[in-house]
Assembly symmetry: D3
Homo-oligomer: 139 residues x 6
């Protein structure tokens, strides 16, 4: 049986700021530049969630996109959309809200929710602007 | 001589919140929904700035795009990018930072900066997400 | 007070076929080409719905995008999405389901639903593919 | 010599319906939801066809894009564009026309047509809407 | 009868250089900047061609998109695609190949070719990059 | 520690022509078709530059996007943007300026500039038009 991956795009709009309290104010400004702006800035983020598996003989689905939507919404989007990544999201607290750290944190939440006998989370891509994105595959 | 419009797209990433202190907390939540989220959210905004004029016989330009960039950056983008629209921008203070109000405020700044004997600002379009935008032509 | 337009994009996936029973089969094939294919084809359509009005002093809204969504969904998208434009939609029956005719039919439904003391429908754009769209403003 | 992949995007507009005659009508509706709508719906599909090989020393090509176009058109696009995936395409008959099954069927047709001493088909991506796609690499 | 506009997007890839022989080399460099680079540069251009008319009662078309394609290809795209705008196109010779001048020259060619008892060219938009475009409506 | 890749998109507009002086004029026209047009044509290119590494515990960065921009601009974009790939770029001279050859040449320049104790260049994607791109990972 062939292994196919299916990918769903989901979107959220969030505020954040890059700041490390272990650094001095000068260091924060030098290292994070305009991303250290004190009153936050924000982005329209897009996350691509990729599941690997074999299409079911009866349905032709690796996984129902509607079910994938429900899981991604419940475990990620509902907690990130129209929120402040630094202040409102318990599972992001205490880390720098770079795209790199956010994508790894999303993996930690989505990977157990999406594993089944037939499927597994195989890839995440997170777009922060139309000009940059990060990828993570759990390794 | 033909009249042509030229349009430049510029982008900024900003945080904001919709909240009217004249309303009760309940009213704010009911009216603004998730856009009233207390710790801000944010967007990648795109603004389309349109100038009308006759192409110059010598240069073929209505206006040099590089000069248009400089004016749009100086009068709008530099003050909005990686900022909080509600806290960091004097010319947006005291108003609700809806796309409607932001585009009108940008017009008030750009219109005098872009008028010349040969050209005038003729249109602004502001995208807040890939699914909604507002337009204003000064009238 | 300034007049601003706000625009919302909505999407639907539908099947259709171009065929006029008053024409012979040969004429239908000659006039409509591959769009006359007997068992239907389909598109991901995008409709841009534009409302004109003055931003409200208290909310900063011409109209709440969430309310606009509800009306566009109820009067158009729910009846078109994952449907056959020629067989499933009473208000499109008896006409050729060209983008031109669909956009005029959407106007007839949306215009009365979106008029208020403060706002009016001012423009519709319907994309059939990424390479063609039609516009209608009610005149 | 370096191995480079080249990718060509091709597009087709098609109707389809998800329905398994081995399921009851209720099961079909429950499993496939709005994709089970009886009179078909449709999409603008985009397929990305990726070929791997070493650039030729004389031409600098892994493969001439024009030749790749001709093969992809002849073996896939001409048979899918403006067609009904369930009724008009012999090599898709008897299967559910999910994106997963369509991409595997396209591989079976394109893989032998695109193999040569110098090149091989290495990847297919099929977009069904702007929010979901599937990938297959033949394994 | 309603008046609807239909718009077709067409694309061409071309080289050009901005240079006015009436200016000194220094002036050319100062005025045109990197667009004056001596050995040309190039763009993927997109032109949006808009036709206004009333949908025909029998076909539902303002104009057949396939016929529109043929005219736009014959009168514009075939002469611009994979060409040098300054050296290869007689109807652009002697002018600066700015987007402003190119869109006006395209209008002069397309307007007579697209006029009929039922339709007229109503708008052209020419994209030079994803960040700038020009518009012309013949006035 | 997780390994994440970060990707930055950069753009350049350039002219080029496909032509091999070792071939006859007839062969050049037959092999390269319209890409052999004698006075050059051009494209808006987009390059996606992907870096692999572990996010730094203090900054949350695999690499600062601003520093990545500086390196990509200095070693690639500044030398390609608004230039003729065949005449103006010493490190592309003597080769056919196909997307395949350009991406391999960009790798040769960027790979040493982007290697560090913590990061390495892991992937390049070069778009020539919206319908074709090439990928290279150094192997």
């Amino acid at each position: 049986m062939p292994t196919v991956t299916i990918t769903r795009l989901a979107r959220f709009s969030a505020a954040h700021r890059l700041h490390n309290p272990a650094f001095s104010d000068d260091e924060n400004r030098r290292i994070f530049g305009k991303c250290n702006s004190p009153n936050f800035h924000g982005h329209n983020y897009t996350i691509e969630v990729t599941i690997a598996g074999e299409p079911d003989a009866g349905t032709g689905y690796v996984m129902d996109f509607a079910e994938l939507d429900r899981i991604v919404d419940a475990d990620c989007i509902d907690q990130l959309d129209h929120k402040n990544l630094d202040l409102d999201v318990p599972w992001l607290s205490g880390i720098r809200s770079t795209a790199e750290n956010v994508v790894v944190a999303c993996w930690a939440r989505l990977e157990p929710a999406l594993i089944s006998q037939r499927t597994r989370l195989s890839h995440l891509r997170l777009w922060e602007t139309e000009n940059n994105y990060v990828d993570y595959d759990g390794s």
